[in-house]
């Protein structure tokens, strides 16, 4: 079954990549590329906040391109979750909210996790895989 989601990034409030996962061979990045992309997105997100003509803008939420869609969710703490997927994919918004829920549960409540550090929590990985697998049937045109 083709996956609509290409990859998922989580960046901390200073722009460092703390979690990266890719699904499928399309859009696979190696470590250096993913780190570079994450800090690039962090800067773009911050700049867009300043440039926006509308008041009360918190940054880019959706980027639509020919070959992909990028949706970003920023939590109140500054942690950003963004996902790159096939163009026209629905339900990315709720997917990001669910990932945020999983982050709060399995990462922040883990006493062995240092905040702002790369995420190495087995439970988070497990539940994320389950979430993506469950949404594969739901997300789509």
């Amino acid at each position: 079954m083709a996956s609509n989601v290409y990859n998922l990034f989580i960046i901390n409030k200073s722009g460092g990549l703390i979690f990266y996962k890719d699904y499928g061979s399309l859009g696979r990045l190696d470590t250096n590329d993913s780190l570079r992309l994450a800090s690039l997105w962090h800067s773009m997100h911050a700049i867009s906040q300043q440039l926006s003509p509308t008041l009360g803008c918190y940054g880019i939420e959706l980027l639509e391109a020919d070959t992909f869609d990028l949706r970003c969710f920023q939590a109140l703490t500054g942690t950003k979750f963004f996902v790159v997927a096939e163009p026209g994919t629905q339900g990315l918004d709720s997917l990001l909210k669910n990932v945020y829920g999983l982050y709060v549960d399995y990462v922040l409540k883990n006493p062995f996790y240092e905040v702002e550090m790369p995420i190495r929590c087995e439970l988070f990985d497990l539940s994320l895989t389950q979430l993506i697998r469950k949404d594969k049937g739901v997300i789509g045109r």
């Binding site: 409540k109 006493p111 062995f112």
Partner: protein
């Protein structure tokens, strides 16, 4: 009140907190998230004060021990109907405290006479915790083992209680077993009484 504290002062906060009483002790509920964060902080607090994993487990067990002793009193208070006689009965599944805490009965270990086990799919304290690989077989269930130890010690059944992960076929997460090893004097006493 003549000298009612002003709204928003610290005294006012203490007064309001004291007014909160559970309507029915049995339905008093605590937020799972609050407990999870508190427990996580407790583990982190102890982690900075120990040199090795065994000591961390010991500290968590010690923390649970105090809870177990106090919980024994609370359970006794609630279980007023039980007669005194049932407390002195055999260690077997009839131990009233175990039934109050766990609905599944104690299982008897196959290897030794003095070993009993409580098996759980996943302990509440471990629900959000992923132990890093370099910590080996460390289990935050040591806290729960401490609670059990407190309950048993307080009711006159001294034992060594430990929590272990037991991997299960086809399941990504292992089950947890709490192993209870009763001390010599308990077995001798039971042998004398039966």
């Amino acid at each position: 009140m003549a000298d009612a504290p002003k709204k928003g002062t610290l005294r006012a906060a203490y007064r309001r907190a004291a007014d909160i009483k559970p309507r029915d002790a049995r339905t008093w509920q605590v937020s799972l998230n609050a407990f999870a964060f508190l427990f996580s902080e407790m583990v982190q607090y102890n982690q900075t004060r120990v040199d090795n994993i065994a000591e961390l487990e010991h500290r968590l067990e010690h923390a649970g021990y105090g809870v177990g002793l106090r919980m024994l009193e609370l359970l006794c208070h609630r279980e007023k109907k039980r007669s005194k006689a049932s407390w002195n009965s055999l260690i077997c599944p009839q131990h009233p405290m175990e039934i109050a805490l766990w609905k599944d009965s104690l299982e008897k270990g196959t290897e030794n006479e003095d070993e009993y086990m409580i098996s759980e799919k996943e302990l509440l304290v471990n629900r959000f915790i992923s132990v890093p690989k370099d910590m080996g077989a460390f289990n935050c269930g040591a806290y729960v083992a401490g609670i059990v130890k407190g309950v048993l010690d307080g009711s006159g059944f001294p034992a060594r209680v430990t929590a272990h992960f037991v991997p299960v076929e086809g399941q990504p997460r292992p089950r947890t077993t709490i192993l209870i090893k009763f001390s010599e004097e308990v077995l001798q006493r039971e042998a004398r009484l039966s």
